[in-house]
């Protein structure tokens, strides 16, 4: 039986996450098995103790920051527990890896690449399936958030995405099974394709044979990259409601993940532009014409300037490749192809597209070798890092300052309009900013870089106004970070109070006392009002 420990100085780190928000809690536990989770939750529910679920605490929306009660940290549930196969819609054999929620993405990738997955406790059948996986073509897990120390459980909880979401989608379609412990210790086990809602009504049966009747929220989700609130639509697969629910419905204890065959050729090409409109034109052209583009990423002028300046200072970024001083912005294209012929054809076609929008194939970095690909990866990851370093420098004189980052997406036909919105309102507010992100999904992280707390307050106001405009464009207020505790107000802007209260009632079907992940998605005040009804 895992101990429920009193909160102590040793555990202060577990009161915060990457959002830099700090919470409070009275106790903490580190379960190792699903049984541990059931025991802990059963015990805590008797006293109506709120529970905040944590993985790697890499989230940017404070979803893992406790608001009192207990912290259930899942990082010790970090085993890969099995492997099986099934057939996809075309009849092709598909490998499904079973993992505990605390498995760290980087470790899972490494174990897969090195063919070094521990099989302790596996069934003979699973071991044989692993042997057949190793003997065949290489496989990979496609979801690639920037923060590779994220845990798989956390990624499922916020329906994580990454650069390659442009081609492979978010984590959602790659999740084939989930086991989830409810607040009272009962368990729901779901496989994709087995349980569906009837219209807005969903009926689930727990392992203890209890029936849960769920009424799904009636809002219409935007047709864009979206991690804002519950996945809800008529006749949905039950598993999709759980994915992206921010820990509010239960504690995920097992996840079945689809592995995909690794493309034969993976190349990257960074294209530099002298004007931002060229980059937008290029994005539209690539979307229409380059079928093997797996990611389309953007870096704006100030992001590149900050990177240049950090490179000049030496240190960590001194070994970055030199960026042409005339380059104003950059679009990175990841190519996933079945052969070198296909990759060369796409690469040269990208060169032609660059010419047609006033740029040049001379101002590109084409990474085909492992070393070049590593240099490209370093460049892409150095952009947010260098901005964080800039903010850290500013915090030395004003510790209250923190970066403000947006996470909104819009439909394809609103790309130019949303960029114009960002540019004009930032200029009008006189705020410094740096933008980068997933332009293929019309999803940029626009970061306000405050010089003082007035800038910070102005930035927050601006983001609230963007949330309203983005919603009116048919977009999402959170495309990949999840809503957590920091974007609840944006979610009200997006769906309105009535729909938020529908979401709360959906939660209460799973968690009638409203104990799990309090403060995520909706306010605790509204939650308590609905519990009292």
């Amino acid at each position: 039986m895992v101990e429920i420990k009193k909160m102590a100085l040793d555990y202060l780190d577990f009161l915060r996450d990457e959002s830099r928000s700090i919470g409070e809690a009275e106790s903490i536990s580190f379960p190792v098995t699903e049984e541990d989770v059931c025991d802990i939750l059963s015990k805590l529910s008797l006293n109506k103790t709120p529970v905040t679920i944590q993985g790697g605490r890499t989230g940017l929306a404070a979803g893992a920051v406790p608001h009192g009660g207990h912290v259930l940290n899942l990082t010790k549930m970090n085993r890969i527990t099995g492997l099986y196969t099934n057939s996809d819609d075309s009849g092709h054999l598909r490998y499904i890896l079973q993992v505990q929620p605390g498995v760290v993405l980087s470790q899972m990738r490494k174990d897969l690449e090195d063919k070094n997955i521990s099989t302790t406790g596996w069934s003979q059948e699973a071991i044989e399936t692993l042997e057949s996986l190793y003997a065949g073509p290489e496989h990979f897990f496609p979801t690639d958030p920037t923060e590779i120390s994220a845990t798989v459980g956390g990624m499922v909880a916020c329906n994580a995405s990454g650069a390659r979401t442009y081609y492979y989608g978010p984590i959602r379609p790659h999740v084939f099974g989930i086991r989830m412990v409810l607040a009272n210790g009962d368990i729901i086990s779901l496989k994709r394709g087995e349980v569906f809602a009837q219209g807005q009504s969903l009926t689930l049966t727990t392992l203890k044979n209890r029936t849960i009747s769920v009424s799904l929220p009636s809002y219409q989700m935007p047709h864009v990259k979206n991690a804002s609130g519950y996945f809800a639509a008529p006749d949905i697969d039950a598993i999709d409601l759980i994915i992206g629910s921010d820990g509010t419905l239960g504690v995920i204890t097992q996840i079945d993940l689809e592995l995909l065959p690794l493309p034969q050729v993976i190349w990257g090409v960074s294209c530099f532009f002298t004007e931002e409109t060229q980059a937008l034109d290029f994005t539209v052209l690539v979307r229409n014409e380059i079928t093997h583009a797996a990611a389309l990423e953007f870096f704006d002028d100030h992001a590149l300037d900050i990177l240049r300046s950090q490179k000049e200072k030496g240190g960590l970024f001194a070994s970055l490749p030199a960026i042409d001083p005339l380059a104003h912005c950059c679009v990175y294209v990841d190519l996933h192809c079945n052969s070198e012929e296909e990759a060369y054809s796409d690469l040269y076609h990208i060169g032609e597209l660059l010419s047609s929008c006033g740029a040049s194939e001379h101002n590109t970095w084409a990474a085909r070798t492992a070393l070049d690909k590593e240099a490209q990866r370093f460049f892409r990851h150095a952009v947010p890092e260098s901005v964080n370093m800039l903010i850290d420098e500013r915090r030395q004189t004003n510790p209250s300052i923190t970066k403000l980052g947006s996470d909104m997406s819009v439909p394809n036909d609103k790309l130019y309009a949303v960029i114009e919105l960002y540019r004009s309102t930032l200029k009008e507010a006189g705020l410094e900013s740096a933008a980068w992100g997933h332009i293929g999904n019309n999803h940029l992280h626009v970061n306000v870089l405050p010089n003082n707390m007035d800038d910070y307050a102005l930035g927050k106001k601006l983001f609230a106004s963007w949330a309203a405009t983005v919603t009116s464009m048919g977009g999402a207020v959170s495309a990949e970070h999840g809503v957590g505790k920091l974007k609840r107000d944006f979610l009200i802007t997006m769906y309105g109070e009535d729909h938020i209260r529908e979401m709360i009632r959906t939660k209460l079907a799973f968690d009638p006392q409203g104990l799990l992940a309090r403060g995520n998605l909706f306010s605790e005040a509204w939650l308590d009002e609905e519990v009292a009804k």
């Binding site: 102590a8 555990y11 030199a322 060369y344 060169g351 194939e361 001379h362 070798t369 492992a370």
Partner: protein, 264 residues
């Protein structure tokens, strides 16, 4: 200015496979990359070309698949590649290799295309000998400066560099033609552009055998190699890791126990 850069194909990982019979590295070309020191040498040559104009030749000795690596060099800024590939070259030590390379350079001298400057990586990451550069310069009868970390000035007639020695740094000037070997940090290699990749696919790479460069077969490959490798082996790694878990006070207590176990 004409510059020539020597390129060596090396295994892409540190897990090198050895031929148990010849005690030489198995080079199948599947996982080969340009020696990182040579990549830095090429980047230095490209910077000199950007400053003074001229052209860059990349020269290598290797299996036929090495042509792909020379084409990669073309995509980054070299203008022409020369590959020495022949069974007669197989199993060469540094003496036989530098002899073969010198034959190609003598051919260039005959054609009045001898480079003003030859740049080699200080060493290759697989052999670690650092012998090819000085041996090649000696064979060609030109001066050499090794361990160059920065080119301070270069013209058609002269080069001034800063080199690392056991005692510190030296600034050395030298009349051209000359050969320098460079450290890996002298330049950060650039990536090819799409335009570069196009040139790399179609640009000129000539392949010569021993006869093609007028090499004496008795001085090539294993025949021309006085080096005798008696035995080669991969050293065994025998380290153990102890994972300490728990709260910081629990970890500290465990650490004290572990250190105590070592008598510390």
């Amino acid at each position: 200015m004409r510059t020539l850069v020597c390129i060596k194909a090396v295994p892409s990982s540190t897990e090198v496979k050895m031929d148990p019979v010849t005690n030489t590295i198995i080079r199948d070309g599947k996982q080969s990359v340009v020696n990182p020191f040579d990549q830095a040498a090429l980047e230095e040559a490209i910077c000199i070309k950007e400053q003074l104009g001229g052209s860059i030749i990349v020269l290598s000795m290797g299996i036929p698949a090495t042509e792909g690596l020379l084409r990669d060099c073309l995509s980054r800024g070299a203008d022409r590649g020369i590959l020495l590939s022949d069974r007669a070259f197989a199993g060469a030590d540094t003496l036989a290799t530098s002899y073969a390379l010198s034959c190609a350079l003598e051919q260039l001298r005959t054609a009045n295309e001898f480079p003003s400057l030859i740049i080699c990586g200080k060493m290759a990451v697989d052999g670690d000998t650092a012998q090819i550069g000085p041996e090649l310069a000696t064979t060609l009868g030109i001066p050499s400066i090794v361990n160059v970390e920065k080119v301070l000035a270069v013209s058609e007639e002269e080069i001034t560099v800063r080199r690392i020695t056991d005692l510190g740094r030296e600034i050395v000037s030298c009349k051209l033609p000359a050969l320098i070997t460079v450290t890996k940090d002298i330049r950060i290699p650039r990536m090819p552009s799409i335009a570069g990749v196009r040139f790399g696919e179609t640009g000129p790479v000539e392949v010569f055998g021993a006869q093609g460069v007028g090499a004496d077969a008795t001085r090539c490959g294993l025949n021309g190699s006085p080096t005798q490798v008696v035995r080669s082996f991969t050293p065994e790694r025998t380290h153990e890791a102890i994972t300490i878990e728990g709260t910081s006070s629990e970890q500290a207590a465990q650490l004290i126990d572990v250190l105590g176990g070592f008598g510390l």
